[in-house]
């Protein structure tokens, strides 16, 4: 059984969402995360500018 399905066995976890292998691997995929890094920085700078 896949790890995420194993965790769903617990009552408390049954009604949430758990990422699968692909979603998890994208979190530490350096190329994709470099893109996200740029996007997140822009988004955060906008919020910071709106707040000052």
């Amino acid at each position: 059984m896949k790890q995420e399905e194993l965790n769903f066995e617990k009552d408390q976890f049954a009604q949430t969402m758990i990422p699968g292998k692909f979603a998890k691997s994208m979190r530490t995929c350096v190329l994709w995360q470099l893109i996200r890094f740029a996007i997140l920085n822009v988004k955060m700078i906008i919020v910071v500018q709106k707040s000052h």
């Binding site: 995420e4 979190r27 890094f37 988004k43 906008i46 000052h52």
Partner: protein, 489 residues
Amino acid sequence: MARLVVLGGGVAGHTTATFAAKWLGSEHEVVVVTPNAKWNWIPSNIWVGVGQMSKEEVTFDLAPVYAKAGITYKQAKAVSLNPEGNESSDKAFVSIEFTEAGREGQTEEIEYDYIVNATGPKLNFGATPGLGEGSQLGEHTVSVCTADHAVHASKKLEEAIEKMKAGTRQKFLIGTGHGMCTCQGAAFEYMFNIEHELNKAGVRDMADMKWISNESFMGDFGMGGLHMKVGGYVVNSKLFAESLFAERNVSWLIGAHTNKVENGKVGYELLDGTMGEEEFDFAMLIPPFAGVGLKAYAKDGSDITSTVFAPNGFMKVDGDYTPKKYAEWKAADWPKTYQNPTYKNMFAAGIAFAPPHIISRPMSSPNGTPINPTPPRTGMPSGIIGKAVAHSVTDLILKGENAHLHEAPMTKMGAACVASAGKGIFDGTAAAMTVFPVVPDYETYPGTGRDTDYTFGEIGLAGHWIKHVLHYLFIYKAKLNPGWTLIPE
């Protein structure tokens, strides 16, 4: 020459003092009174608590920085305020007690023209029997609220890992140590960083991990939760938070007021009134926050503490403190200028100001025990408020007492939060979130109370890189290195 006294050299106070000193120049004096010799980038204490950073990496000496900025530095704690002076003088003053090595216990009265209270929180461990005494951490649990606490926590974690390697299961209990805590985010980060380290050490399967929190739902974070954009959807932070816990096999106990801590065991009361106990081998429970307990006296020596401070010890500012029902709470209740309504030369910044009410929905158990998070005032709002107050005081000094005051209401201010879920240049992750505004405004943003175009979250390595860059950036800025004013709060 005017004198501004800033109480507290943390995120808010340091921002106020350094900007005011820059804008006022050498014709006016800025004095900082703070008991700490070192400045601490508190968010990185999480990494100290898991042995991934040293105390030296998250702190630096304040004295040379203040000398460079032309700020008079008193390593002391403020004890009381006399905003009307005393019987022999009309001049307002603050009484301080030195903490500097060799001068401990000596006192001094410092006269001021303007004063900013940025004393942050008292870590009120004493509020829960067994969690500690007053602001001192007890012997049963660990903390990451100060760099020294985090060093101690890291040693205890190392011991727990050794036990697991030797074949003894360990139960980790992380969360809040009282029904009225805030700062769940820090506990959340610590929980996930421990989980990350246990995986790296190859002992995750020997650990049972549990979250205990006063939030009535996962992802409340003292902000009543938030709706944020994740992967094209607008989702409630409940789903986001529960998912992160379920993925890591960390179970949760919420709506819990921790009412007792003993060796290896906490007692709690839940929102439905049930009492229970939870055992642990390693526990990090955030204490509730209170004001640091400053007193205030009128000219004739009478105690006016309740005029200047709210019952929780935080300073009253220009918020609307009239008790109201939850349904009547409005964004307009929140302070804008952080000026004390009674003494106009007095301001509060950061955690030290009294919020008009909590942000989360108020809750209590059938026994009448309040169990709800209190409002967070994270680093970014604390810094922005500190800067706005510095601006106001500078204008009052340079342009006269009718100068326009600068505003920084938390209802018109966002916050960028990066919550670490594990450190590592290629395998680290962090939840990068922004929320706008911090305090929901249902009149401007009917529905979720916030602007979902600017309220988003995602977890990944990019978030970790941002957190790591921010660590160096904010320490660089706090040291007043070249270009420091260009780095936003």
